[in-house]
């Protein structure tokens, strides 16, 4: 190590004795204040951004099933026929069958307790089907809901068949 290096090492602290520019402390305080405001603005910005993101996500989750649904679905529910052409055929099959059976049951006397109970059940299943149509819309054509709707059709047809059977029994009794 040269004498110069030795001297600098020995007097190291003296080399730090530099007069700082006048007013440096005030300028520092002003800079820290500015930084504080910038930090606060940054926090505020991220809070607003987070709030907007939450709102967009919430809005998106409400609107997404609607966008995923077929174009002609404009309301809060959708029919099986809105899902696909296969589903439309199934719906057509069951609705025509049910309509046909229902026409034949017009004259059925509702004084019979069993008949009353079966008609209650039919009403309940009809209401449940409306609920399923709404759920199908909300879920974005969930398979689970579609299967429940088909099962609902099947149960209603079964009840109609039972009612038809009772009607036939009543007719044979009266004749």
């Amino acid at each position: 190590m040269s004498d110069l290096e030795k001297f600098i090492k020995k007097e190291r602290d003296s080399f730090d004795e530099e007069p700082l520019p006048l007013g440096h402390e005030n300028r520092f305080l002003m800079k820290t204040e500015k930084q504080k405001i910038e930090n606060e603005n940054r926090v505020r910005f991220w809070r607003v951004a987070a709030a907007i993101t939450v709102l967009l996500l919430a809005g998106g989750s409400l609107l997404l099933p609607r966008f995923n649904s077929p174009v002609d679905v404009q309301y809060g529910s959708m029919a099986l026929s809105d899902v696909s052409s296969d589903m439309a055929n199934i719906e057509l099959y069951y609705t025509s069958k049910l309509e046909e059976k229902y026409k034949g049951l017009q004259e059925l006397s509702e004084t019979n307790t069993e008949v009353k109970s079966l008609f209650y059940e039919l009403t309940f299943l009809n209401e449940e089907y409306d609920n399923l149509e709404r759920e199908l819309y909300r879920s974005g054509t969930s398979d689970r809901v579609i299967l429940a709707m088909i099962e609902n059709f099947r149960l209603r047809l079964k009840i109609m068949e039972e009612l038809e059977k009772i009607k036939n029994e009543q007719l044979s009794e009266s004749s």
């Binding site: 040269s2 110069l4 600098i8 080399f15 530099e18 520092f28 930084q35």
Partner: protein, 174 residues
């Protein structure tokens, strides 16, 4: 006092920040000035380093003096600034005079002010390498990494700076 409490105070308490600033600013300023050779720029980068240090105090591991840590932040800022200005750390041509070709007698009669003045007259690349190696205890490998130059170049710049300072100090005695 627990380090986590100190960190919290340094991040938020303006009074504590000012105390630390006043305690360490002289050393940090001197380091910046040696590198930049400009009092206004040195003050700016010193203060930016303090603000950054307080803002990121969570990353201070406490394995060195706080002043040294802040000083290192300041030095990095100064070096980044010089690199942006494309200061030629590696250029042989920057040295005027040819002191590198002449070995001056190192006679040992020095004083702080003369050396300081001589350092101010050094070309930028030489002065930065000389300051980093002798005042900031950085080895040539580390300097070469920071400045993006060869290790040999850092050694050469240091030798030239040293020779030039000896020469300039001698001249003031004559």
């Amino acid at each position: 006092m627990e380090i986590s409490l100190i960190k919290k105070q340094l991040k938020t308490d303006r009074r504590v920040q000012t105390d630390v600033y006043n305690a360490c600013c002289r050393r940090v300023y001197a380091s910046c000035l040696r590198i930049l050779n400009d009092p206004h720029e040195a003050e700016d980068f010193m203060q930016e380093a303090f603000i950054q240090a307080f803002d990121r105090i969570d990353s201070f591991r406490g394995d060195s003096r706080l002043a040294s840590w802040i000083c290192r932040i300041a030095i990095n800022k100064c070096l980044d600034h010089l690199k942006k200005r494309k200061v030629p750390f590696d250029m042989d041509a920057e040295f005027e005079g040819g002191a590198e070709n002449h070995h001056y007698e190192d006679e040992g009669s020095y004083d702080v002010d003369r050396i300081k003045r001589a350092m101010k007259d050094l070309p930028e690349g030489c002065r930065v390498v000389f300051s980093l190696h002798l005042f900031e205890d950085m080895d040539h490998k580390s300097i070469s990494k920071h400045l993006g130059i060869k290790e040999a170049s850092s050694r050469a710049q240091f030798a030239r700076a040293k020779n030039r300072i000896i020469e300039l100090v001698k001249e003031t005695y004559v």
